[in-house]
């Protein structure tokens, strides 16, 4: 998913729908390992199985929407603002009564929000929506690694070392932040966090971990 943003809208739907299908099937299959029970006495597996099936269905619909959008986009007319009147969506029963079969078959006609011109507004999206860049895989990886390292080291190495490593790795993910700058940021934030959480809030966090004892 490193391509330019412009043709992204329908690919987004394909990807999101695909993820939903995979997650739905995974949950549904895993749920069959648990006792299903009956509608009268639902076992632990009953609801997850139904929900997994519903999610798979919704994922397929989203994939279909993405395909429909791609067909429209490639057919030339990029009239995104056009009157998309026929927005057929899954009926209320798809959500109110969880039924695996309902709604999956009907390919949805269109989706007024997903065309390229209107990027989806999320809760935190600023306005106007800035041009979206590439997926910052390296930065995202550094951030995830920073968080993971905290979990891995906080008990063994202690909170001071864990804080430093985490803030250092996270700092490296910043634009134009080199190792020296990241280290400076890390030292400052480590001191701040120790003051706030250990001294201020008296959390039971060992300053030095079990590895050093």
């Amino acid at each position: 998913m490193n391509g330019p943003a412009a043709p992204g809208a329908h690919r987004d739907s394909l990807l999101a729908g695909g993820v939903f299908v995979v997650v739905g099937i995974a949950f549904a299959v895993a749920a069959t390992r648990y006792e299903l029970g009956s509608a009268l006495r639902m076992g632990p597996g009953y609801l997850p199985l139904v929900l997994g099936a519903v999610l798979t269905g919704l994922g397929l619909i989203i994939v279909a929407q993405g395909l429909a959008a791609r067909v429209r986009a490639s057919s030339g007319s990029d009239s995104n603002r056009g009157p998309t009147g026929g927005t057929v969506r899954p009926g209320p029963e798809a959500a109110a009564v969880p039924d695996p079969e309902s709604g999956t078959g009907t390919a949805e006609a269109s989706d007024p929000e997903s065309p390229v011109a209107t990027a989806p507004r999320t809760e935190t999206a600023p306005h106007p929506e800035p041009e979206r860049g590439r997926v910052p895989w390296a930065r995202a990886g550094l951030l995830a690694a920073a968080v993971l390292v905290f979990g891995l080291t906080v008990e063994g190495a202690g909170v001071v070392a864990a804080l430093f490593l985490t803030t250092f790795l996270a700092g490296l993910a910043g634009r134009g932040t080199g190792p020296v700058r990241a280290a400076l940021i890390a030292v400052a934030l480590t001191v701040l966090c120790v003051l706030v959480f250990v001294v201020g809030l008296q959390l039971r966090l060992p300053l030095l971990g079990t590895w050093f004892r």
Binding site: P44, A96, A144
Partner: protein
């Protein structure tokens, strides 16, 4: 109410309220951090206090964060969440024209007035509603949860199908952990730490903290502060005359819409903005610095923030992600939010309500003079800011249960959430689904056991039927292009 004021005015409660609003504003003012992220990040801090104090503090953090968010929206054009996006439209234009003080003072005074009115409404209507809710059985609760979930889609922007799918993902994540009735561990992959289920704070921090940071790292930050010094915080009489009608209209709309489950505060600010535009004699000034365009949505937003406590305190049903976080806080304090809170914990209930007013007052008194401090916080470079958020998220989640698994989950869920958001799926429905999932399953199963497996209980019991019909109507509304189009227009025209 007297009990409430007595509780809220105890000096230690005033102090925690003050700490709450100050911390909330300080974190909320940071660009790119919405009120949900603020509350999630600061949640661990409140656990050291007793129940009343910690909830007062959390509520204070919530409106502090909202207040800080509008400051950022006005000065930086960087709203932390979609309800503040409306404020940014005209607020930022005013700031560019050198009227930042006017916009900030209007937002503060409008919010204060709206908060006062909405707090009174909350105090008046919550007790009778809670009494009615005591008659609710499992069938009614199930239908109510369905309504809440569906309404959250109806009010969200973006694709309805994707929002539905996100809700289902949330519901599925909510099933992780031991089954309520049989004790069977589900989807835990043998990891003992997951038996208790995923932690809500972990999920919220991942989705609104880490995912948001990755989003922000997509593009270069080139925003610059328009004003270094904010002047003109005192409104003239002419200004006042201009803002009073929009504030009144915004307060009314916000109080009504805030009760709706699923993010009524967002709808409130959008609707009140378009209403002002419609009734204005100079609609062409909107988007170019119309003070009415700041006054109305800010009042509506704040009124809705207060009245959104009504479903939480009367039904135990969170109306949006911040309320869901508060549910978590209630439970950690050993209190189940719901209709029993008024009876069982009168001090907490009335104290919380009274503290809302105190908190709003503190916000105005403190923040107008302190605006210079917040402006300085806006200058913290993002390269320093986001490592701080990351490490706060990690240490905060770890300190909740001293459980390294919570921290690993932030990393994984954060990256997944970022990708989903990028692909046009909103995080809020997932979070609501996650919180309401166990409630949904429990009541569904219990209702079916009571009815001996007859699913018609949901439509034969009148209250349950009405709730389900409302849910169906909400879904229809979200499908009809009319409402969605109307919302888009606000942005298209400017």
């Amino acid at each position: 109410m007297a009990l409430g004021l007595q509780t809220a005015l105890q000096w230690e409660n005033v102090l925690v309220c003050l700490i709450g609003v100050t911390l909330g504003t300080a974190v909320g003012v940071l660009p790119g951090i919405g009120s949900t992220a603020t509350v999630a990040l600061l949640l661990p801090i409140t656990f050291n206090f007793d129940a009343v104090a910690s909830l007062i503090m959390l509520a204070g953090i919530y409106y502090g964060a909202q207040y800080g968010g509008s400051t950022t929206a006005i000065l930086l054009n960087l709203p932390g969440e979609s309800s503040a996006a409306v404020t940014a439209l005209d607020g930022h234009q005013l700031a560019r024209q050198g009227h930042a003080g006017l916009a900030l003072a209007t937002a503060a005074l409008g919010s204060f007035f709206a908060g006062t009115v909405a707090t009174v409404i909350l105090a008046l209507f919550a007790p009778p509603l809670a009494e009615a809710a005591l008659a609710f059985g499992p069938a009614e609760y199930f239908s109510l949860v369905v309504l809440g979930l569906i309404a959250s889609i109806a009010l969200a922007s973006g694709s309805t199908t994707k929002a539905l799918a996100m809700i289902v993902v949330g519901l599925l994540l909510g099933t992780v952990g031991q089954d309520l009735y049989t004790g069977q561990p589900r989807f835990t992959f043998g990891v003992r730490e997951l038996y208790g289920g995923l932690d809500f704070v972990t999920l919220a921090v991942a989705m609104f903290g880490l995912a948001e940071i990755i989003r922000n790292l997509e593009h270069r930050h080139s925003e610059s502060l328009v004003t270094r010094h904010v002047k003109g915080l005192w409104l003239t009489r002419a200004d006042l005359r201009r803002i009073v009608p929009p504030v009144l209209r915004g307060t009314t709309l916000g109080s009504l819409l805030g009760v709706l489950p699923g993010g009524g505060h967002v709808l409130a600010s959008f609707t009140s903005y378009s209403l002002e535009k419609r009734v204005s004699r100079r609609p062409e000034t909107f988007g170019r610095g119309a003070i009415e365009g700041v006054a109305a949505p800010e009042s509506a937003n704040n009124a809705a923030a207060q009245t959104s406590f009504i479903p939480l305190l009367t039904l135990g049903l969170p109306a949006h992600p911040v309320m869901a976080l508060l549910v978590g806080a209630f439970i950690i304090q050993g209190i189940t939010p719901g209709p029993n809170v008024i009876e069982d914990e009168p001090e907490l209930f009335w104290g919380l309500i009274a503290s809302m007013w105190v908190g709003n007052l503190l916000l105005v008194v403190l923040n107008l003079p302190l605006i210079g401090v917040w402006v300085r916080m806006l200058r913290v470079p993002y390269q320093v800011l986001f490592p701080a958020i990351v490490v706060f998220a990690a240490i905060g989640c770890y300190s909740l249960g001293l459980n390294a698994w919570d921290v690993y989950l932030i990393a994984g869920l954060g990256v997944i959430a970022y990708l989903l958001v990028r692909w046009g799926c909103e995080p809020a429905p997932l979070l609501l689904g996650f919180v309401l999932g166990p409630l949904l399953e429990e009541n569904l199963r219990r209702a079916l056991i009571i009815s001996r497996g007859d699913p018609s209980v949901f439509v034969t019991r009148p209250i349950s039927l009405v709730l389900l019909l409302l849910a169906a109507a909400a879904l229809l509304v979200s499908v009809l292009p009319l409402v969605r189009r109307g919302r888009e227009q606000i942005f298209v025209e400017d």
